[in-house]
């Protein structure tokens, strides 16, 4: 056995698993989805896991993640004895429709895999949706021709059995926020591959808060693909909170498809995690669209976070804006790759991009790569990337008012992060995230923070070596 096959041992294992569990894997499929699964499986066999020789993976090495011996479950996890209590949201004044996903499988409090709202909205399990709404699922699932899709995309298509399905019909406006809590809780090393499908009809509106949490302290590996389709003049507000343990990996691929006049905001708040990578593809195929992609990452120790944003302007008169900010302590590493592609016909495009980082130590590193590719001549595009330390003039200014150096640093870090937090339009959620970020910066947040299991095995709390208890 040569080094390479040792390194990618998991690939061979997955290939064997696929063959062995065919019956389970295909059990809810329509024939089209089965054939897509087969095709994706073949593609994965060729592509395998991404490796650092690929340009977009040069800075993110999965070797460590792939070296573990994971279990992959082909049947849903049994919901915990205490019911769904720990999925409940603690945000005050925040009226949400809760959607729970345990170890990659949709679970419902009353065994109702699909909920139908009076306006025709359907929320629930993707596996069930395949059975009840095969035409809708097929129509959108079939959209696998992502030109830049990696082996991970293919692997997910081959293996994903369940996840969340949300269908919002034309003209429906969901007044409540849907909160999707993806929880990992099992004392095993889990490899989770779920898939979410979100479809917004014409003139519809949806707000989705997606929380990726882990309750266990095991090594987990999540490979999620989310497809979001925005119908004409629809709008979608999306918040993603990522707070997993230091040993776990999340690879999240999200594809947004925008039709004429649609509008989207997506905001990723990354608080903790061993290795987190978000690949966000925004395909602006319609005219007059507006897409905002925001992100904030606060990482320390040996954590690694990678945000890969691809915005494709296919049609004219659309706007896109990327804003990513990060604070890195210890030897943490961040990668940002923001690609703006303006196609030949996409005149009058406005596309902007900004990535700013604060490094608190000499050992923390950031690789920022803005990348503009423009084939139209009447567009406005710009990009900027900055890596720096806290501004000494600002530090002195604050200290000259009586705040200690530590508190001054804290205040500046918080202020730096606030630009992204302030993009959150739901006030109650903004206050909570604001609080989480402050806790994170103070070193008071662990993955156990909202957990009711009260196990003794707490993570060591993380620390930015700054005490802001007075702020």
């Amino acid at each position: 056995m040569d080094d390479l096959s040792l390194k990618y041992h998991l690939k061979d294992k997955l290939i064997a698993l696929f063959e062995k569990h065919r019956d389970d894997l295909f059990r809810n499929d329509t024939s089209l989805i089965s054939s897509l699964r087969e095709r994706a499986f073949e593609r994965f066999k060729v592509l395998g896991f991404p490796h650092t020789k690929l340009e977009q993976w040069r800075q993110t090495d999965l070797t460590g993640t792939l070296s573990h011996d994971y279990e992959q479950h082909f049947r849903p996890s049994v919901p915990p004895a205490g019911g769904l209590k720990y999925f409940e949201c603690e945000v005050p004044d925040f009226d949400t429709i809760l959607v729970s996903v345990l170890n990659g499988w949709f679970i419902s409090p009353d065994n109702k895999p699909l909920t139908r709202l009076p306006d025709g909205t359907v929320i629930g399990s993707l596996a069930q949706a395949m059975l009840e709404y095969p035409r809708i699922v097929e129509e959108h699932w079939g959209n696998d021709d992502h030109s830049r899709a990696t082996g991970l995309d293919a692997l997910n298509t081959a293996f994903a059995q369940d996840g969340v399905f949300i269908y919002v019909p034309d003209d429906a406006v969901i007044p409540n926020t849907i909160q999707m809590v993806n929880m990992i809780n099992l004392d095993r090393k889990l490899f989770i591959q779920n898939r979410n499908l979100i479809i917004l009809g014409k003139n519809s509106h949806l707000t989705l808060v997606q929380c990726d949490d882990s309750l266990n302290h095991e090594v987990n590996f999540t490979n999620t693909v989310t497809e979001v389709f925005l119908g004409e003049n629809s709008s979608f507000d999306h918040y993603k909170l990522q707070n997993i343990n230091d040993h776990s990996t999340i690879l999240n691929t999200t594809h947004f498809h925008l039709n004429d006049g649609s509008r989207m905001n997506t905001n990723a708040i990354i608080l903790n995690g061993g290795l987190i990578r978000n690949d966000v593809y925004v395909n602006i195929k319609g005219e007059g669209c507006d897409a905002n992609v925001y992100g904030l990452y606060l990482v320390d120790k040996d954590q690694h976070v990678d945000n890969q944003i691809y915005v494709d302007h296919v049609s004219p008169h659309s706007k896109s804006y990327q804003l990513f900010k990060g604070i890195l302590d210890d030897q943490a590493k961040a990668v940002f790759n923001g690609h703006i592609l303006v196609h030949r016909g996409a005149q009058k495009t406005n596309a902007y991009q900004s990535n700013k980082n604060i490094l608190l130590t000499d050992k923390a590193t950031v690789n920022a790569k803005p990348w503009l590719e423009i084939y139209a001549d009447d567009v406005k595009c710009s990009h900027g990337a900055a890596v720096g330390q806290l501004d000494p003039n600002a530090l002195f200014y604050i200290r000259s008012r009586g705040l200690s150096e530590e508190n001054a640093r804290m205040l500046l870090m918080y202020a730096f992060a606030a630009e992204v937090i302030n993009k959150i339009t739901i006030e109650a959620l903004k206050i909570t995230i604001d609080d989480l970020v402050k806790k994170r910066l103070r070193g008071e947040l662990s993955v156990c923070d909202q957990c009711v299991l009260n196990c003794r095995n707490k993570e060591n709390t993380v620390s930015f070596k700054i005490d802001m208890s007075k702020i």
Binding site: D391, Y397, R399, S400, R401, G402, L411, A418
Partner: protein
């Protein structure tokens, strides 16, 4: 209150202040004037404790304590306030939050309980009106997007909130129109009492029509070359600085 003896300050190994001595008593207002680049701001930074300025000689004693051994926040907590020539913008931190934190840190240093919300809000309101500042100020980020004049008003507002013992105002008048100048001077005069002292750094005599100094110093090449009463400011206005250079 403040005694500076033979102070020498350099930045990047270039000496800016070369043996400056100054004595300020409680209740006094001192004006420091002088052409550009003579070390006026450097003196202000050195008193406030900016670590980028290296004190290479001499001493600064404040109420009997060796100021040079104290970090800037301790100097602030002991009652020293610097009104910046170029106030820093702090996006994301509201003025209300900033001031409340500053006041409470200083109170803690003095062994006092945090300020009550009610007292804090009424002090905000009073000082806001005193300086004719927009009511949205409390929730706006510190100095963010402020015009030059607004930033200067914001400095005086902060001074009024903090109620320092020794205030150093570094070219607070630059960039102010005559109306704003009067408002700012009014704010400064309100602080004047037998217990406090103020150092006003300025190029122009104009500000000193509204903030009447007890003593005027002329700084040139890092030294005080002339000291007099308020009439010295008028003399400088008429003659310029040339006659003092020799």
């Amino acid at each position: 209150m403040l005694t500076i003896k033979d102070l020498k300050v350099s930045i990047n190994e270039k000496e800016i202040i070369s043996g400056l001595s100054l004595e300020i008593k409680a209740g006094e207002v001192h004006a420091i004037m002088g052409p550009n680049g003579t070390g006026k701001s450097t003196l202000a930074w050195a008193i406030a404790g900016n670590e980028m300025y290296n004190v290479t000689g001499g001493s600064i004693t404040y109420n009997g304590r060796n100021l040079l051994e104290m970090p800037p926040e301790e100097r602030a907590c002991d009652g020293i306030f610097l009104g910046f020539q170029y106030p820093v913008e702090i996006p994301g931190v509201s003025m209300a939050n900033f001031m409340r934190t500053a006041i409470n840190e200083q109170r803690k240093y003095r062994g006092l309980d945090p300020i009550s919300s009610q007292e804090f809000l009424s002090r905000m309101e009073e000082n806001r009106k005193l300086l004719g500042i927009d009511s949205k100020l409390a929730n706006r980020s510190v100095n963010e997007g402020f015009s030059g004049g607004e930033k200067k008003k914001s400095e005086i507002f902060q001074m009024a909130m903090i109620e320092p013992t020794l205030a150093i105002l570094d070219e607070t008048d630059s960039g102010l129109d005559i109306d704003a100048l009067k408002v700012v001077a009014n704010g400064v005069n309100k602080l004047r009492s037998g217990k406090n002292a103020i150092i006003v750094i300025t190029h122009y005599q104009r500000l000193l029509e509204y903030i009447i100094p007890d003593v005027v110093h002329v700084l040139y090449k890092g030294r005080i070359v002339k000291t007099g009463g308020r009439e010295l400011a008028l003399e400088l206005e008429q003659k310029g600085y040339e006659w003092l250079k020799n």
